[in-house]
Symmetry: C2
């Protein structure tokens, strides 16, 4: 087998090696049952244990008490952009658009009902406004935020104190740091960054908020449907849940959220330092106070050099650092499963590259 590369993909993204090794070892025979976990019925005892353990671990790591339901569903954050307003938008809702994904969430909500952007930022979204800038309309059903902007490389470091239920798309920074989950009426996240493979979406919904949901929509799109059947209303993406269980076990074994957060802070500190050390070669356009710990975006002096950087990085076993097609440049995603040694390799390459091109 060839060497594993340094994977900075923005999602789908790196998974902990130990999780992949276990998946490999159990592929033909899950715990002596004579089949893969993905060949088990989703209503059988073997899968039920996996599902329940994944939920228990998520509750423990994220700090979710029984006043919230936890659901493992399909459709991605893009699906939630539609189902959230379908369930919860009554009258009007407010969206804090701080990046391209927030734009998409708002656009879907505007098809469903009266939704507006409460910030009115200019593109390219190089910072996240302070809490006080988040004004909501009287009677708004909820305020929607994107806690981390993967495209722009910005992140909320202080959440707004909304007078209405706060709904958060945490796809790209869930469990990367300690948050007070009780502040959020609803949290959702596509799994393919910090939790597992693509095809799985996690929802955490306060029961009191869930009770406000509309019922005049297809049964499959009502969160209450899934909550009433412990997420097994229809067949869940069982193998993805199994892999997420592995990722959550790995997080817990590492020491839990606080240890992971400290690890992530240090990874980001080292990488931003490497950028700031060479302002002649690297430039991070994001305001320092809004810099993301998950997605580090930077530019070289020309698009030619951006391209050369990405190409030569690949030659050095460093992959996934091409910026999103909508913004260009370079982007390194530092999700939980990215090891400090991966960041060290990237920083080493950056120093070498800067020495050669400056």
């Amino acid at each position: 087998m060839s060497e594993r590369v340094h994977n900075f993909n923005a999602g789908p993204s790196a998974l902990p090696r130990v999780v992949l090794e276990q998946a490999r070892d159990e592929m033909l025979d899950f715990e002596g049952t004579g089949m893969s976990i993905m060949e088990h019925s989703h209503r059988g005892a073997a899968y039920e244990r996996v599902h329940n353990e994944a939920e228990a671990l998520l509750r423990e790591l994220l700090g979710i008490d029984p006043s919230s339901v936890v659901l493992f569903l399909q459709g991605g954050a893009s699906g939630a952009f539609a189902t959230v307003p379908m369930n919860f938008l009554r009258g009007c809702a407010d969206y804090a658009v701080t990046g391209g994904w927030g734009e998409k969430a708002l656009a879907e909500a505007q098809i469903v009902g009266d939704a507006r952007d409460c910030l009115g930022m200019q593109r390219r979204y190089m910072h996240v406004p302070p809490p006080a800038a988040h004004t909501v309309r009287p009677g708004s059903s909820y305020l929607h935020i994107t806690t981390n902007n993967t495209l722009e490389g910005t992140q909320y470091h202080r959440f707004p104190d909304a007078p209405v239920p706060l709904v958060a798309d945490m796809s790209s920074d869930i469990l990367s740091r300690r948050v007070d989950a009780s502040r959020f009426a609803m949290i959702y996240a596509g799994a393919q960054k910090n939790l597992g493979p693509s095809g799985l979406t996690v929802f955490v919904i306060q029961r009191a908020f869930l009770d406000t949901a509309r019922t005049d929509l297809p049964v499959i799109f009502r969160f209450a449907t899934h909550a009433a059947q412990q997420g097994l209303y229809h067949t869940p993406p069982t193998f993805a849940v199994y892999l997420m269980r592995g990722v959550l076990r790995w997080m817990k074994a590492l020491g839990g959220v606080d240890v992971v957060e400290a690890r992530n802070d240090e990874k980001a500190r080292v990488l931003y330092a490497a950028i700031d050390d060479r302002p002649d070669v690297y430039r991070c356009p994001v305001e320092p106070a809004s810099r993301s710990r998950m997605n580090v975006v930077f530019y070289l002096p020309s698009t030619d050099l951006d391209e050369r950087f990405v190409k030569e990085a690949k030659g050095a076993g460093i992959v996934g650092v091409k910026g999103h097609r909508s913004v260009g440049g370079v982007r390194a995603s530092l999700y939980n499963a990215v090891e400090p040694s991966d960041v060290a390799a990237l920083v080493e390459f950056m120093k070498d590259f800067a020495g050669r091109v400056a």
Copy 2:
């Protein structure tokens, strides 16, 4: 590693051993890229090749020409129960309800618009009505059928000649037999029976039918959105698509649909013969002309004996034969990946069991 069991699960269900072995062997390093396929970007070259090969194989095996689009999405058949009428129901639509899943499809459509059951069968749906029984209303947007009923063990062996677009839920018998795909305006199928793991849903839609779709719904639920971006509007369930590619490769290597169909016919023939040989112990309630080649449902003289059968079968390495909770009894699902040797083991057990309890 323990022996692999004889897996008759109704879905998620057995996968070809060779597919699991390849997934195992490539888990940490897909084709020398130094990462799992699930750690690759869905917009990168490695995944793109997998996705495109899966689509090409599906087109080849199912006989789909360029006048139809093929999409690999999330949400299951249960999701399609809602999105199909959301996209295509204008005025009214007709549903041929031949089982429990058809009931669910109709119920979702009735939330969306004017949908009715065109058959009016009595429960427990022990047969599939002939084509002429399928009457549709003037101006109906489409006729929806369920080609195979997993709960009841019935299957269409002749499809209706509808004067309106024919939409088929083929979740439990897609690619199990040759069908004339051009007769269907739309085919959809959850992957977890004949195609792969759960969390992936295949859609085949004639472009002319797609052009009739509504546009006044959330972007994510419009099939046209996904068609315009080759199914990559948002992140697909990449690992599930990879596994499906393996299943389709396996089917092709086996000889294609005709060989698989002959294999499936023989598997079903052997099992139904074992039932009919012992009418004192086993009874299939389905009318012979409507018997399913995919899901074989039968009952013993008492629920006690049903339970004993299921329990003792498990002791013999035969799993997944408990009937669905809504109908009870025994059910053996004979999807493509179930080997003739699995069926032989089941039949052997049935003979032995009958000898002991008769």
